[in-house]
């Protein structure tokens, strides 16, 4: 198993379902991801590649010319029980006034993590760009610069807002602080039965998408990459159009919305781009991809598919698609209108907004798809809290879990122990699933009191003295 140690990376992570076991296993392998566990004391050679920090830099460089090297030289056989893991201390990390939290997701350009504004205590998301990585992507730096300047000018409820921009030259990193979102429509779809949303819920999101698009088009911006993965949801289930990496802004004096470049995700591209047209009307690109998005969230399928990008583009180029039987008329008509092959005949945004399907709310459905859990946490608790706990309360090797309970775990363990613990956790969650949320948390708070231990900075100290100071 140790031979695969090197090859597995984030791609594996995304392919596997996020159960606690696979989660742990992935962390062992993925060198670059945000692991809480790191192997120690492995065989000498392996250690270099597995340890955080220095190894990563070298890995980055090696990625490019991996073929020219005899791969076997890099691997040293280690049995799984020879690797001993150590719980990584949740080391508090500050970027400016922001406290760093856990990983939320990974894009092509870098990671997205949670942050907490230590002044306002407002949750934020941060998109981290590594300049080194950016340089390797065609147009990478240019696209990011474009995205930043664009985001700065945009302000709408349904468009992601750029809060802050930080550059750390010594780390060669660029941090874009954005509004906090709990997940994308794509993640929600994947968790939904049949990978589709009930009509009422889809209607709500689609209306918000149109509102956002109307604003963008009014600001002469074409997004060009509308898809469920780029539509994020906040805690309040407000939809935010995000990822302006390939967006295009028209000049104030442009005659019309003619575009020359299309860079979005293949499955959501209109026929004119699939057929390689030299120029095409820009606004209609967003209409098409919104149509594909609506088709996708209502049916769980894609109107156009193909084994590879050539087949896919061939199918899109023909512009022929079928709509499942169960999709009845106002919606059927809307989808046909939005997915017309000829961009001139395709609905305009106003036509879409005034369509019958949009003006009448579908009847309430018997279920709504909830925002899916992040790493088994269905309430999406602040991931910054454990870092703050370990910073403020940790002493004598005592650790606290995310509720602030004292946990007495041994610091070192092997993979077998890890798997056993994960199994136990799974059983536990199955048992407690019946309990309501209020029940659970109340029992939590009662155990909290019982298990508290001496800490350097206790609440008792706070209770005693904070009032005595005059503000």
């Amino acid at each position: 198993m140790s031979e695969t140690m090197f090859n597995t990376n984030s791609s594996v992570e995304s392919a596997l379902p996020a159960s606690p076991e696979t989660e742990l296993v992935n962390r062992i392998f993925s060198v670059e991801s945000d692991e809480q566990l790191k192997p120690i004391n492995a065989a000498e050679n392996a250690e270099i590649w597995l340890a955080d920090g220095h190894g990563v830099d070298q890995l980055d460089g090696l990625d490019d010319d991996l073929d020219t090297v005899n791969i076997n030289n890099f691997f040293h056989r280690v049995d799984s029980d020879q690797i001993i893991y150590q719980t990584k201390k949740k080391q508090l990390k500050l970027i400016g006034k922001y406290v760093m939290g856990d990983l939320l997701g990974e894009g092509s350009y870098g990671k997205v993590k949670e942050m907490l504004d230590s002044e306002t205590l407002c949750r934020r998301a941060v998109k981290i760009f590594k300049e080194r990585k950016l340089r390797r992507i065609p147009n990478g730096e240019q696209n990011v610069r474009k995205e930043i300047s664009l985001l700065k000018t945009l302000r709408h409820k349904n468009v992601i807002r750029l809060i802050d921009e930080l550059r750390v030259p010594e780390k060669q990193k660029l941090y874009l602080v954005l509004e906090f979102c709990v997940g994308s429509l794509q993640v929600m779809l994947e968790s939904a039965p049949g990978k589709k949303l009930p009509a009422r819920q889809a209607h709500g999101y689609f209306t918000q998408l149109l509102n956002g698009l109307e604003y963008l088009h009014g600001a002469r911006v074409i997004h060009k990459d509308i898809k469920p993965g780029n539509l994020l949801l906040t805690l309040e289930e407000v939809l935010k159009i995000s990822d302006f990496g390939v967006a295009e802004t028209f000049d104030l004096f442009a005659k019309d919305d003619t575009c020359y470049v299309g860079q979005g995700s293949p499955a959501f591209q209109p026929p004119e781009i699939a057929n390689g047209a030299e120029s095409f009307p820009g606004f209609k690109v967003d209409i098409w991809s919104s149509g594909v998005t609506l088709y996708n969230i209502m049916t769980g399928q894609y109107p156009f598919e193909g084994d590879n990008i050539y087949r896919l583009f061939e199918n899109i180029g023909k512009g022929e698609f079928t709509i499942p039987e169960q999709i009845q008329d106002p919606l059927r008509d809307l989808l046909i209108g939005m997915l017309r092959k000829d961009p001139m005949e395709r609905f305009s945004l106003q036509q879409v907004k005034q369509h019958t399907w949009l003006n009448r709310k579908p009847p309430p459905s018997d279920y709504t798809v909830p925002i899916p859990a992040l790493k088994n946490d269905k309430w999406h608790n602040m991931t910054v809290l454990p870092y703050l706990y370990s910073h403020y309360y940790e002493d004598l090797g005592a650790t606290y879990d995310k509720d602030g309970n004292l946990t007495e775990e041994s610091e070192y363990f092997t993979e077998r122990e890890l798997n056993a613990a994960a199994e136990q956790l799974k059983q536990l969650t199955e048992q407690t699933n019946g309990n309501g949320p209020s029940n659970q948390s109340s029992s939590n708070s009662s155990t909290k009191r019982g298990r508290r231990k001496k800490r350097p900075l206790t609440c008792i100290a706070v209770q005693k003295f904070s009032f005595c100071k005059q503000s």
Partner: protein
Amino acid sequence: MSNLDINLNDYKIISTLGQCFEGKAIVSLAKHVPTNTMVAVKKFIMDMIKDNALVDFEIILMRQLLHPNILPYFTSFVNGPNVYVVSPLMAYGSCQDLLNQHFNEGLCEQAIVIILRDLLDALNYIHKKGYIHRAIRASHVLVSSTGKACLTGFRYACPIVCNGKWQKTIHSFPSSTKANLNWLSPELLEQNLLGYNEKSDIYSVGMVICELANGSEPFAGMSSTLMLTEKVRGCTPQLLDYTTVPRDINGDCSGGDGDISLKIINRRFSDNIHEMAAQCLNREPFYRPSAEQLLKHSLFKTIKNSLPLTDLLKPAIPLSDRVAFNKEDIENLDTFNYFANLQINTCEWDF
């Protein structure tokens, strides 16, 4: 009184009472010349305020509220780059002013109970109207010359009703709420999918009880991130008195880092008010009583037999008396202002 003019020239600014909105708004004592009445004029300096929706929201919301314990706005108008809001003069100022100027170790229980009843009355009203205040704190509770407490600070409020539906939980995080963080409930600060509801205000009421009793703001001098973790773990302040100030074996109060005055050590709050503070500060919103339930508490029955608040607040004197006492001061102030204006003119000569 309610048909005051919207002409700035009718208001003669007498003195500055204080600032709010992080210094971006100035509250002044003013005289409405035509009716010869004293009013408070709040000037929002819109050039400094980025989030002007907050000012709009507050004014629009205040027009929809009518309750004896909510500070009314007589009128509001725009003049140049500023927005002016005229409200009745609250002669004792805010409860925080009272604490800072006269009651460094906290108010007496009877005064707290009277203020608390007025505060809960106002809260009960706005909760039933479908709003969460989200900034309940002593500085947002003003006391009138007759000893009536009024709630202000509505620009942080949020509606519970959304699209005609009463929301079970709210998730929005108030913007520019930095100054109010110490009073906010743990569930509001956590910003997770569980959200919060109007019980969040009740937690802040608990904080205000402690603030009024102890004379200082809760979690004072603590970093906001530590305050957050303390709250999330369920740590709350207490009313400091004979029963709660910790003692060592000899019965001495070893204050640790702060010396606790004898007055605090020897005073005694009733069990009722201790209990009420603890109920309000329950970590679990579900177990906190509503404003309506709190108003039925036997604690408030004592008000009937107590002295009026104005007597309990002595030696603090209401503003109008102070102004009457120093009529000369005002005249001096006028001449001062006159010269100040002159000085601006002379500045033009000073190349």
